[in-house]
C-alpha cells in the first residue's frame, strides 16, 4: 500500500508473497501415503460399541438435571463449592509410565515443568509431559505432526475440525481404537468415565468404533441463543416472556433503539436466530429427500427479516461495519440484545458486566417460533466439541494406564480429584475463602489456564461460586428450554468429507453474501444468486449428492 522504501524491502516483499503462497503446504511436505477419508458412524453399529452410562451419586447438585427429549438434559447446578471433597479414585491410577500430551490452550501458556505439573504427576502416578499449544494456531501445529506421523501419546482434537480435518482418516492409522477397553460394560472399570453421558462418546467415534475421550460434555449442547440485558429491559417493564415471535422482537427494536443516546437494540443476531424460522441447522430430510439449508424457504425468510432489521436502523452501526467487539457494546449498554454462544453466560461475564454497570444482569429469551405458532425447536450440536485421543502406537497396557489417568481427570465436580485438577494444591495454588477455592498467584499462572481438563473432564455443571444468581438464572433458562432441544439429521455421525465437498460445505462465497445481507448491504436476491452459483460451480449440488449417497443412504439420519 504505502511506498516501499528501498530495493531490498521490495525484493523481500515479492519473495515473501511467493513464500506465503507456498509455505503452509511445504511444512507438511514430508508426509506420504493417501489419507483415507472415512469414519461415518451408523446408528446400529455404533450402539454396540458405545460405553454404558452409569451415573454417579456421590455428589449431589443443588439444582438437579432435568431431562428433555432423548439425549437432551440440563446441566446440574451448584450454588456453592462442595465442602466435603469426596475422593472417587482409590490410590494412584498410574504405574509410573512416561507419556507426552498436547492440548490447545486459549490463554497464556504456563511455565514448563512447574510445581502444578509435578504435583499432578505425583497424584496421577505417571510422568506426563504436558505441552499446551496456542489454541488459535492449533490446527497448523497438529497438521505438521500428523503429516510427519509423530503424534504425542495423548492429544486433543476439537470436533469442529471434523468436516475439514479428517480426524476419521487418523482414527485407526494414528489414533488408538479404544473400543475393546471401553465399549459396553468394559467402561465400568473406569467409573468416572462411565458417568459421562453416552451422547458425548459419539463425538469421538469413527466407523462405529470408539477412539476419543470426550471433555466438557453437556446434554444442553446448542450453538447459542439470543441474549438480552435483563437489568435494562426489566427496568423498562419488559420481560422475556413478552417476546414470542419475530414480530415481537422487531417491535422491541423500535422501542429500545435510541440512536441519539448512542443505544441500539441489537447486535448481530443471525447465527443463533435463523433456525427459529423453521430452517434446519444445516441439513434436513424432507420426505426421504436430503435438503441443504440453502435450499429451504425458511432460511430465506429469516434472511429477509434480518435484512429488514438492519435497514430499519435497529442494529448498532459498528456491528453492521463488521466490528467484532459486540460483548463490549453489550456491557456498555450500547446494544441491549445480542446473539451469542451459551458459553458466554458465566462468572467472568458477570464480573466484566458488573464492572461496567453494577446492575448488569444477562438474560436469554426463551426459544420461540418466528410466526409465534407451534412449538419451538432447536437443533442440538454434538454433546462435546473437545475430544482427546491416544496414540495408535501405545501398547494395550499403556492404553489402560492412560485410561485410568483419564478416569482420575474425569472425576465429578467438587470431588478431591476435581479440586486437584482444577485448582491445584491447597495452600500453594489456592486457598479456601468462604467455602470457595480462590486461586493464588501461582495458581493463576499454573492451574487456571486449563490444561488437563482438555484430556478428560466430567460432564459440565453450572457453577459460578461467587455469583450463585448467575447459576440460578442459567439453570432456570435451561430448564425452561430443554424441551425445545431436538436432534438434527446426521447428529453425532462424524462425517469427514473429500476436499472438494469440504470446500463446498464451507460455502465461503454464500456465507460472505449472507453476512452482507443481514448487515443490510445485500438483498435476499443476491443471496439467492450466490446460492445458484454455489450449487453449480461452487460444488453445492455435488456436495448434496455426496452426502446423500455416502451418508444418508448408507448410514441413515442418525436421529
Amino acid at each position: 500500500m504505502g511506498i516501499e522504501l528501498n530495493r531490498r524491502s521490495f525484493l523481500n516483499a515479492a519473495a515473501t508473497a511467493a513464500a506465503l503462497a507456498a509455505a503452509g503446504p511445504l511444512l507438511s511436505a514430508c508426509g506420504g501415503g493417501g489419507a483415507q477419508r472415512a469414519g461415518v458412524n451408523s446408528e446400529s453399529g455404533l450402539r454396540a460399541a458405545l460405553p454404558a452410562h452409569v451415573p454417579l451419586s456421590s455428589i449431589k447438585p443443588d439444582i438437579a438435571s432435568i431431562a428433555g427429549g432423548p439425549d437432551a438434559l440440563t446441566d446440574p447446578g451448584f450454588l456453592t463449592y462442595p465442602a466435603n471433597r469426596v475422593a472417587t479414585v482409590p490410590g494412584v491410577p498410574g504405574k509410573g509410565g512416561r507419556y507426552s500430551a498436547v492440548v490447545p490452550l486459549w490463554g497464556t501458556i504456563p511455565p514448563a515443568d512447574n510445581a502444578f505439573y509435578q504435583a499432578m504427576d505425583k497424584a496421577l502416578g505417571i510422568r506426563l509431559e504436558m505441552k499446551p499449544a496456542d489454541g488459535n494456531t492449533y490446527n497448523t501445529i497438529v497438521s505438521t505432526m500428523t503429516a510427519a506421523k509423530r503424534l504425542p501419546d495423548w492429544i486433543t482434537l476439537p470436533s469442529w475440525w471434523n468436516p475439514n480435518f479428517n480426524t476419521g482418516g487418523l482414527a485407526g492409522s494414528q489414533l488408538a481404537d479404544l473400543t475393546p477397553f471401553l465399549s459396553g460394560d468394559n467402561v465400568k472399570k473406569y467409573p468416572n468415565l462411565a458417568a459421562i453421558p453416552t451422547a458425548a462418546w459419539r463425538a469421538g467415534a469413527w466407523g462405529d468404533k470408539i477412539y476419543g475421550i470426550p471433555s466438557f460434555s453437556s446434554g444442553f449442547a446448542i450453538t447459542g441463543t439470543t441474549f438480552y440485558r435483563r437489568d435494562v429491559l426489566e427496568a423498562r417493564g419488559i420481560t422475556a416472556d413478552q417476546v414470542k415471535s419475530a414480530d415481537d422482537l422487531m417491535n422491541l427494536g423500535k422501542e429500545l433503539t435510541d440512536a441519539k443516546a448512542g443505544v441500539w437494540a441489537f447486535d448481530d443476531l443471525y447465527t443463533y436466530l435463523y433456525t427459529s424460522f423453521g430452517a434446519p441447522l444445516k441439513w434436513k430430510v424432507d420426505n426421504g429427500k436430503l435438503v441443504h439449508l440453502f435450499q429451504t424457504d425458511e432460511w430465506f425468510e429469516a434472511l429477509d427479516w434480518l435484512h429488514r432489521l438492519a435497514t430499519a436502523g435497529y442494529v448498532h452501526p459498528d456491528a453492521l461495519a463488521g466490528d467484532q467487539a459486540g460483548t463490549t457494546r453489550f456491557y456498555a449498554g450500547k446494544v441491549l440484545i445480542a446473539g451469542g454462544g451459551t458459553g458466554a453466560w458465566n462468572l467472568a461475564d458477570h464480573q466484566n458486566g458488573v464492572a461496567a454497570n453494577p446492575a448488569y444482569r444477562r438474560g436469554a429469551f426463551d426459544f420461540f417460533t418466528a410466526d409465534g405458532k407451534g412449538t419451538p425447536r432447536v437443533d442440538m450440536g454434538p454433546a462435546t466439541s473437545i475430544v482427546s485421543y491416544l496414540n495408535a502406537n501405545l501398547k494395550p497396557e499403556q492404553v489402560e494406564e492412560l485410561l485410568a489417568v483419564a478416569n482420575y481427570l474425569a472425576a465429578p465436580f467438587g470431588s478431591a480429584e476435581y479440586t486437584m485438577v482444577n485448582f491445584g494444591v491447597e495452600g500453594t495454588h489456592f486457598t479456601t475463602e468462604g467455602g470457595v477455592p480462590a486461586p493464588t498467584e501461582a495458581g493463576r499462572k499454573e492451574v487456571q489456564a486449563q490444561t488437563y481438563p482438555f484430556l478428560a473432564s466430567p460432564a459440565q455443571v453450572i457453577s459460578n461460586q461467587t455469583a450463585p444468581n448467575v447459576t440460578k438464572d442459567l439453570a432456570a433458562w435451561q430448564a425452561a428450554n430443554v424441551k425445545a432441544l431436538a436432534k438434527p439429521v446426521f447428529w453425532g455421525m462424524n462425517v469427514s468429507m473429500p476436499q472438494a465437498q469440504a470446500t463446498a460445505e464451507a460455502a465461503q462465497a454464500v456465507m460472505d453474501t449472507v453476512k452482507d445481507c443481514y448487515h443490510g448491504k445485500k438483498k435476499v436476491q443476491d443471496v439467492k444468486d450466490a446460492v445458484a452459483t454455489w450449487k453449480g460451480s461452487g460444488g453445492g449440488d455435488r456436495l448434496i449428492a455426496w452426502m446423500d449417497e455416502n451418508v444418508l443412504q448408507k448410514h441413515g439420519t442418525g436421529q
Binding site: 516501499e4 515479492a14 511445504l26 507438511s28 489419507a35 452501526p317 461495519a321 476436499q499 445485500k522
Partner: protein
C-alpha cells in the same frame, strides 16, 4: 571479445584475494542470505500444490495431481475476477491520490526553516505508521463510523447522518485516505534524504540570477528528485497487485466482500480459510507471475526515461 580474454585469468585469480579482502562483509551477509534461502526460496517448491488437490494429511507427495484444474476453477470464478478488478482499481486510485502526497509533504517540510517545528511536524506525521491497521481503522470507526463522534454530533443536531465507513461506492477513497493518514509521513523519509542531497549552491546561484521560489522548485528541486521519484514509481507499479491485506480483512464486512476483496484477501478467504489450499496457492502463483511481469515492464519504462530504475540488466 577476444581482447577481454587475457583479463579473465587475473580476475579468476583475484577471486580468492577478493574473498580474503571482503571476508567480514561476506560473513555479515551470510545469515541474511541463508534466511532468504530457507524462508523465501525453499518454500517456493510448495508452489507445486497449485497443480494438485492438496490434502495436508497426505502431504505434497501423497496429494493427487490435477494439472491446471485449479487455474481453470480460478479463471472461471467471478469472485476472482472481481478481486482482480478491485485490486487494480484500488491500486490506480492510490497511485493517483496517494503517491504525490509524500512528495508534496517532503517539499513543504523542506521549506520550513525552524528545525524544532520541522522535527515536531515530522514526528507527528511519522507516528501513525507505527500503529497497526486494527488500531488505525478503530480510530476511523470511532471518529467517522455510524456511532462515531461525527455522526453522533450530526444526530444530536438533527442533521442527517453521513455514512462514511460502510459505503461501498466510496470505499476506494476511504481506504486511500486511511493510507494517507497512516503512511504518508513515513513515505517522505526517502524524499527528504534526496532533497538533502541537492547541492544548496545551486539554489544560491539561481536566487542570485533572480529565480523566484517556483522557478527554483521547477528547475532545481524537482530534477534533483526525479531519480528517486521514478524509482518509487517503478516499485509501486511492480507492486500494483499488492494493495494491502489487514486493511481489507478488517473492513471486509463493513462494505461487503465483493467490494473489499483484493487478491490477497481472496487467496486467504477462498484458499486458506476453507482449507482449499491448492486454490489459494493457484491464486497466489497467478499474482506472483503478473507482479514479476509488472516489475520487469516498469523497469524497462524507467530505462526509457533515462533513469536507472530498479536494476540494469
Amino acid at each position: 571479445m577476444t581482447a577481454l580474454r587475457p583479463a579473465l585469468r587475473p580476475a579468476r585469480r583475484n577471486w580468492r584475494v577478493r574473498l580474503r579482502r571482503d571476508r567480514s562483509l561476506v560473513l555479515m551477509a551470510l545469515p541474511a542470505v541463508l534466511l532468504l534461502l530457507v524462508f523465501n526460496y525453499v518454500p517456493l517448491f510448495g508452489l507445486v500444490t497449485a497443480f494438485q488437490e492438496y490434502d495436508p494429511l497426505s502431504g505434497v507427495s501423497g496429494s493427487a495431481w490435477v494439472g491446471l484444474h485449479q487455474f481453470e476453477r480460478l479463471f472461471g470464478d467471478p469472485l476472482f475476477w472481481s478481486a482482480v478488478r478491485n485490486t487494480l482499481y484500488l491500486s490506480f486510485v492510490q497511485l493517483v491520490l496517494f503517491f504525490p502526497v509524500p512528495v508534496a509533504l517532503a517539499l513543504l517540510l523542506n521549506s520550513v526553516l525552524s528545525d524544532r517545528i520541522r522535527n515536531f511536524i515530522q514526528s507527528v506525521v511519522y507516528l501513525p505508521h507505527f500503529f497497526s491497521w486494527v488500531l488505525a481503522i478503530t480510530i476511523f470507526q470511532q471518529m467517522l463510523g455510524g456511532a462515531g463522534v461525527l455522526n453522533q454530533f450530526l444526530r444530536s443536531h438533527d442533521i442527517g447522518t453521513w455514512d462514511v465507513m460502510t459505503n461501498p461506492d466510496t470505499f476506494a477513497l476511504l481506504v486511500t485516505s486511511q493510507v494517507i493518514w497512516k503512511e504518508a509521513g513515513w513515505g517522505i523519509i526517502v524524499f527528504l534524504a534526496a532533497l538533502a542531497a541537492i547541492n544548496t549552491d545551486l539554489y544560491e546561484a539561481a536566487a542570485a540570477d533572480g529565480a523566484g521560489r517556483w522557478r527554483r522548485l521547477w528547475h532545481i528541486t524537482l530534477p534533483g528528485l526525479r531519480g528517486v521519484i521514478v524509482l518509487m514509481l517503478v516499485l509501486r507499479l511492480g507492486n500494483a497487485l499488492t494493495v494491502g491485506f489487514e486493511q481489507f480483512l478488517i473492513q471486509r464486512y463493513a462494505v461487503g466482500h465483493d467490494t473489499a476483496d483484493v487478491l490477497d484477501t481472496f487467496a486467504f478467504y477462498y484458499g486458506i480459510a476453507t482449507n482449499d489450499y491448492s486454490y489459494g496457492a493457484a491464486a497466489g502463483l497467478f499474482k506472483s507471475i503478473i507482479s514479476l511481469l509488472l516489475i520487469w515492464g516498469a523497469n524497462k519504462l524507467a530505462h526509457a526515461f533515462g533513469e536507472d530504475g530498479l536494476y540494469r540488466a
